[in-house]
Amino acid sequence: MTDAAVTLTGISKRYGAVVANDSVDLVLRRGSVHAVMGENGAGKSTLMSILFGLTEPDAGTIEVGGVERRFRGPADAIAAGLGMVHQHFRLFDSMSVAENVVYGAEPTRGALLDRRAAAERVRELSDRYGLGLDPDANVGRLSAGVRQRVEIVKALHREAEILILDEPSAVLTPDEVTSLFSVIRRAADAGTTVVLVTHKIQEVLAISDEVTVLRAGRVSGRFATAEVTGPQLIEAMTGRDVVPVSNAGARELGGIALSVDRATVVEQGITRLDDVSLTVRTGEIVGVAGVSGNGQHELVEAVLGAVALTSGTVEIAGTDVSSLDVRRRRLAGLAVIPEDRRGEGTAVTMTTAENITAGHHRSAPISGSGLAKGWLKRRAQREEATRLMADYDVRAESDQSLVGALSGGNAQKVVVARELSHGAPVLIAEQPTQGVDVGAIESIHTRLLEYRDAGRAVLLVSHEITELQALADRVVVLFAGRLVAEFSRAEATTARIGAAMTGGVTSGSGDAPEGRTA
């Protein structure tokens, strides 16, 4: 079987000094499911952007169906029969499913949009692949799993013969993943070539026919899935035997450092966080699991004070901070590593020194005291920054380098340094290793464990079950804004957490989550 749907040859792409792809070859067999694996920063996204015409390669050729193509934009790629489902959905929330599907390739009747034909098309495709979509539903109200199916139908509507799925399981519950896999199978059996971009080994083994592994921009392995094992894939991905950082277990638990009691957040009539209670003791890492968008971010913002609680209370280090603003909560002993580094964690147009000290600029050594209160000591600020950059191994030309010029890992270290260096009794880390390289992940994990061992409380929000299993002493699960389960370290198996993430199943021991903190 040498029936290649797509052949990429010698693809190279560099961004400044960073080589994202280095003569990558990739052959996609027609009707197969081909997994493209690699860690964050291995070059998967760049390769897929090139394949879909979002980025032009510096060198290399793309052949689709044996014909060499040059894609100047996604429109060219779509015309050549490619379709892509992005990790972050690209849907119009205000529009219906049918409108989203036909957008850009609309059936028309005269000058008008043919709504009936559009709805018919959605129904037909939905039936053929067993997707169960309602063409008239408003996309903004759909769950992540259904939204993803809308994305798939979008590509199918354009008669895509090659379907690229970028980290499709990231936003899905385990059940939804299973049904996604059956859709993928059905599409492949119907002759569609599916590219599955992922870093999850289980998924690769479960669904793919072939695997290409990328490491640091190069192909580090090519396998037929039937002949490869998990450890082999790990080795190809990381180039070494990974000894993941792992939690040796909490030593002694102290008193309650963070207590959230019956917290509820209602926004524009939608309940985002529903009667959530949890506590974190000093010397403990409590993990918060859940599919993205089930209230984790609202929980973080409610504890921080960036979102006001509709009802309930938050206590930090024994102080009721429910009615305090962000600054006072931080003073009461809270540090937060935000989820979105560029959105909330840094100001990319400001210097590293300014970023690494922001928020601590009203206290010593950066601010004066007494009469000089409120004055900024700029030399002290730079010295403090230089010290922190050394301590946390932030690699930048100088403390005056703009954060926007740093790599993702270094920028994240700026955030970590700023939040950890002041020893706040309570730390919230929301997706602290998102989009950073392996080395930085390891260093951040180590830091979090050390932080706990120093007798502080950590609330770790992550969408990666493995990250929670590696670090957390206890795992709670959020589903639809409610705390639905709680597991001790020993109970926190993937199966149990996964089941709870769908909201269907209760916790490993009993169903009174708040009752088990002692």
Binding site: L54, D93, Y103, G104, A111, V266, A308, T310
Partner: protein
């Protein structure tokens, strides 16, 4: 008595029309995600170009055409600057507003050797629909108006239907809501933004022409006097629902016409001048107050709205 009331309706329509054209321009720009605060300057340029065009060609309709074309051309700065070059539309708009103010004054001096206002003898205004004179009610309202007055409402309705019912309208809405999504589906986002902004320019040209050749037959320096800003507020008020624009603009028209009435009754002009702004702001405030919901919910938005992020 009835005549009095109908003439008031006519006055409301007259005051509302230029603002409605400009607000339609702003609403269309908002649909493609361009925060357009250049309406004031574009309308001012349109008013000048209409008068200059009418004076030079001797035809008010040629003046209207010149206003439409040159204002569209003028809006290319904003269109290309914000869409293709990704510049801040607010800063460009502040610049083009100043430019329009300076350039109209400058050209009035250079071309016609007058300052302040320009109303040469024989300057042609746009024709009124006097053929309606004998139709009851309609005649009372529209006989003294230019065709641009009813046309404005037709335009708004047409735009509303077009946005909803055509494939281009669908694409246009998508470009504003999620440009990356549109781009990945092969829709040329930059082209949509550019052309919609330029069409907005043409509409502002009509707004200006109606103001200087319809409402009156004269150009005076800074004659738009903030109407473009009222239009921006109207766009915010309707929040992406263009079919509500006439309501907002008629409200403004009523405030202006009512103020005019009050002036006739002896109220000081300064205070009636301020009324449309004060009322617009009050209505804006009233629509934004969360009348329902807990105090906590109100407290939670303790962060100033940023103009750039607000309402696309």
């Amino acid at each position: 008595m009835q005549v009095f009331e109908l003439s008031f309706v006519a006055a409301v329509l007259l005051a509302a029309t230029p603002v409605l054209y400009a607000a339609l321009a702003g609403a269309l720009s908002a649909q493609v995600g361009v925060f357009n605060i250049a309406l004031e300057g574009q309308m001012l340029w349109g008013a000048f170009a209409a008068v200059a065009g009418s004076y030079i060609t001797g035809s008010a309709w040629a003046g209207l055409l010149i206003a439409i074309l040159t204002t569209a051309l003028f809006s290319v700065i904003l269109a290309v600057g914000s869409a293709a070059w990704k510049a801040d539309p607010i800063i460009i708009a502040i610049g083009t507003n100043l430019l329009a103010l300076g350039l109209t004054g400058f050209l009035m001096r250079v071309l016609f050797d007058v300052s302040g206002s320009f109303a040469p003898r024989g300057l042609q205004g746009l024709d009124k629909m006097s053929f309606l004179r004998d139709v009851p009610v309609i005649g009372d309202i529209f006989a003294g108006q230019t065709p641009l007055v009813p046309l404005a409402f037709v335009f708004v309705a047409a735009a509303g239907i077009w946005l909803k019912a055509t494939s281009n309208g669908l694409r246009l809405r998508g470009v504003g809501e999620h440009p990356e999504a549109s781009a990945t589906l092969g829709v040329n986002v930059v082209a949509y933004k550019t052309w919609v902004t330029i069409v907005g320019g043409a509409l502002c040209g009509m707004a200006g022409a109606q103001l200087s050749l319809g409402n009156v037959t004269v150009f005076t320096e800074n004659m738009t006097a903030g109407r473009g800003w009222i239009a921006v507020a109207a766009v915010m008020l309707v929040a992406g629902r263009p079919l509500w624009l006439p309501v907002a603009c008629l409200g403004f028209g009523a405030a202006e016409a009512f103020g005019f009435r009050l002036q006739g009754l002896g109220a000081p002009q300064q205070l009636t001048d301020a009324a449309p702004y004060a009322i617009t702001l009050l209505v804006l405030v009233a629509t934004r107050i969360p009348w329902t919901g807990s105090r906590a919910a109100r407290r939670r938005t303790a962060e100033p709205a940023n103009a750039v992020l607000e309402d696309k």
